[in-house]
Symmetry: C2
Subunit: 345 residues, 2 copies
C-alpha cells in the first residue's frame, strides 16, 4: 500500500543538558541579535495571515549581496528542500547523474526517491575530486563544495572545468559550508547557464533552527525550481523564518565576525590536534575530519560520547576511521582537546 | 533541461494597507496570546541549533487531544506538504486515483507532478458527492471534507462507506476546515487502517503564517509518511513553528472561543445574504460559496475588489458563477454586507 524508500539518517539530536554537540555542524554562536527583534516585529503583524509564496524581499536581499537579480534566487525550507526540488526539476529517471562516493549522504537518497539512476565517482586517495571524472555526465552532476564530510574544497577552476564539460546538463554545487572557504561558484553563474549554487543559513548564519536555504542560478533554472515548488507547496517558508533570515543577511558585520572567529578557532584546533598525532584533512568548513593512528575513530567517538561530547562517525568503509568534529567556541574546543588528550593518553 | 509542471495558483496575497482579505480563508482572529510567548521562549534556547526531526512533543499533544498515540500522527510544513508527501507515499503511477471534479485544485497538480493518473468524479447538481462513485477505486481516493470551494460537508456515514469499499487502497480525507463542521473522520482511524486524515493549523488555529499541518492514521501509514519525509528533508518544521503550534493546541479555550465566534458570524451572514437574494451552499467551513441571480460572480468579485475587498473567484465553468468569501469578524462582515448591498443596488 505504501512506497518503499531508504531515508537519510541525520546526526543525533539529543536535547539533554550539558551535552557538547559537535555532531551536526551547527554554529556555536547564536544568530545576530537583529534576528530576534525582526521575528518579534513580524509576530505583531499577525501569524493568522499566510506568508508570501514568492519571498521577494529576502530574494532581493540575497541577490543584491551577491551581485545577482531577484529572478536568479530561489528560497526553500532549508537547503535540503532546495536540493530535493532540484533533483525533481533538473534530473531525469532516464539519465545517470554523477556525484562522489564520499559526499553528503542525502544525494543517493534523493536519487532513489525520484528514481534517478546515478554513478558514484571514487575520490582520489587524498579525498580530493578528479574533475575529469565528472566530465560529460549523462544526466547532470551534484557536488558538495567544500565536500562533506571530508571538509575538502575543490578549486573554482576545477568546478569551472566540470561546468564546461557538462553544457547540456545541470551541475549543482552544494555550498553549505562555503562561507568558511575561499571562493563561491556564484561568480560563475553569469557565464554558465547550467550552474545551480545551493547555500544555507543553517551554518554560517546560525539559523539551523529556522530552516532557510536558497539556490542561485540562471533565471530559467530558478523558474523551474519555482514551478516544482508551486506544484508541491505554495507557502514553504513561514513568516518568522523569512523575517529572521532577512535580519541575518542584513547584519553583515555580525556574520563576518562570527565566521572569522570560527575559522580562527579551526586553525588553532588543527594545529593542536596535529601536535598530538592526528591526521587532519585540509578543512575549509566549520568542521574537521580527523584520524589518529593509535585510536580508531569509532573508539574515539564512543569515548567522547561517554564524556558527553557528541561527534559524528560514518560507517562507510572508506571513511570509517575518520571522525567529523564541528568547530565550536574556543572554550568548547579547549574542553574537546582536554578530553581527547585524556582518551589517547 | 528542466521538468515541465502545471503549478497550483494560490489566492492573491496583497500586502497593501486597508485591504479586507476575504480570499484565502485565513482566520480573522490572531492566534492565542500563548503562541507569541512560546515563540519568544523558544528563541532564547538558540536558533543556531537544528529543530527536532521527529517533532515528538507536538505529535504527542495532537495525539492526546484526539485519543490517538504519537505513532498515529505525522507533522508537515503546512497541510500542503503533508498532502504532497501523501501522494508520494500512497499513490502509484500505475493506478488511477479518484477525487471530485470540483475540489481543492492542488489535487490534480500533485497527481501531474508525481505522474499519478486520476479520474475526476462529477458532483451531484447540488454540489454534494455521490459516495458510490468513489467505491472500488483503482489506486485510492482523496476527498476534501468539508469540500473546498463548495463548503459542503459529506456525512461521516458516507466517508465510512467509501473507506469500506476501498479496503485495498488509501483514502485521504483532507479536513482543513473540519473544526467549523460537525464530525471529523478521525473517529474512524481505529477501524480503518486505510484512512489518512489531514488537518492544518492554518484555519481554525490562526497559524497560516507558521506552516504546520498534520496527518493522522494507522501507524504503518504514518511510518510511510516519515520515510518519504526523511528521504526528502530531515528538518521540515522549524523551532518557532513547533513551539507556536504547540502553544496553540494547548490553549483549547481560545481555540473553541474563536472557532465558535466564526461559526456564529457565518450563520448571521448567511441569513443576511439570503435576505438580499443570494443562494448559498450549506457551509460547514470558515467561508461561504455564494451566487446571485442579478449579478454575476465575476462582476461581484470585481466590484468588491474596487472597494478593496478581496474574495476568490474560480474560472471552472461549473462554479464560475459562485464566489468564495471568507468569514471575518462581525465588523468585517458588516462592511462586506454594506458594500454588497451598494453593488447589487
Amino acid at each position: 500500500m505504501v512506497k518503499r524508500t531508504q531515508p537519510y539518517v541525520p546526526g543525533e539530536q539529543i536535547n539533554e543538558e550539558h551535552i557538547l554537540k559537535l555532531n551536526t555542524n551547527e554554529n556555536p554562536y547564536p544568530p545576530s541579535p537583529m534576528v530576534a527583534k525582526a521575528i518579534i516585529q513580524e509576530m505583531d503583524k499577525g501569524l493568522h495571515y499566510y506568508p508570501t509564496p514568492t519571498v521577494e524581499k529576502l530574494r532581493q536581499t540575497i541577490a543584491k549581496q551577491n551581485g545577482l537579480t531577484e529572478n536568479q534566487v530561489f528560497i526553500g525550507n532549508g537547503s535540503d528542500e532546495v536540493l530535493a526540488f532540484s533533483f525533481m526539476a533538473f534530473f531525469k529517471p532516464s539519465k545517470r547523474i554523477q556525484f562522489p562516493t564520499v559526499t553528503y549522504s542525502f544525494y543517493p537518497v534523493y536519487a532513489k526517491l525520484f528514481d534517478i539512476p546515478y554513478i558514484e565517482v571514487p575520490l582520489n586517495e587524498d579525498f580530493t575530486i578528479q574533475p575529469e571524472a565528472f566530465f560529460n555526465s549523462e544526466g547532470g552532476v551534484i557536488l558538495a563544495n567544500p565536500n562533506a564530510p571530508t571538509s575538502i574544497y575543490a578549486e573554482i577552476e576545477h568546478i569551472e572545468l566540470i561546468l564546461q564539460n557538462n553544457s547540456e546538463n545541470v551541475v549543482i554545487i552544494d555550498e553549505a559550508y562555503i562561507d568558511f572557504a575561499t571562493t563561491s561558484a556564484m561568480t560563475l553563474i553569469e557565464a554558465y547557464p547550467n550552474l545551480v549554487v545551493v547555500q544555507t543559513t543553517s551554518k554560517s548564519r546560525s539559523l539551523a533552527g529556522l530552516r532557510v536555504g536558497y539556490a542561485m542560478g540562471n533565471p530559467s533554472l530558478i523558474e523551474a525550481l519555482f514551478r516544482i515548488k508551486d506544484s508541491f507547496n505554495s507557502y514553504t517558508i513561514d513568516r518568522l523564518a523569512i523575517a529572521g533570515a532577512l535580519a541575518a543577511f542584513e547584519d553583515e558585520n555580525y556574520f563576518k565576525e562570527t565566521t572569522s572567529k570560527i575559522i580562527t578557532t579551526r586553525e588553532v584546533l588543527v594545529e593542536k590536534l596535529k601536535r598530538i598525532g592526528f591526521d587532519i584533512l585540509p578543512s575549509q568548513t566549520n568542521f574537521v575530519f580527523i584520524t589518529h593512528e593509535k585510536v580508531t575513530a569509532v573508539e574515539l567517538y564512543q569515548e567522547l560520547k561517554k564524556e558527553r561530547i557528541l561527534t559524528r562517525h560514518f560507517r562507510d568503509p572508506v571513511i570509517q576511521n575518520h571522525l567529523r568534529v564541528t568547530i565550536g567556541t574556543d572554550e568548547q574546543m579547549h574542553k574537546l582537546m582536554d578530553t581527547i588528550k585524556q582518551i589517547i593518553g
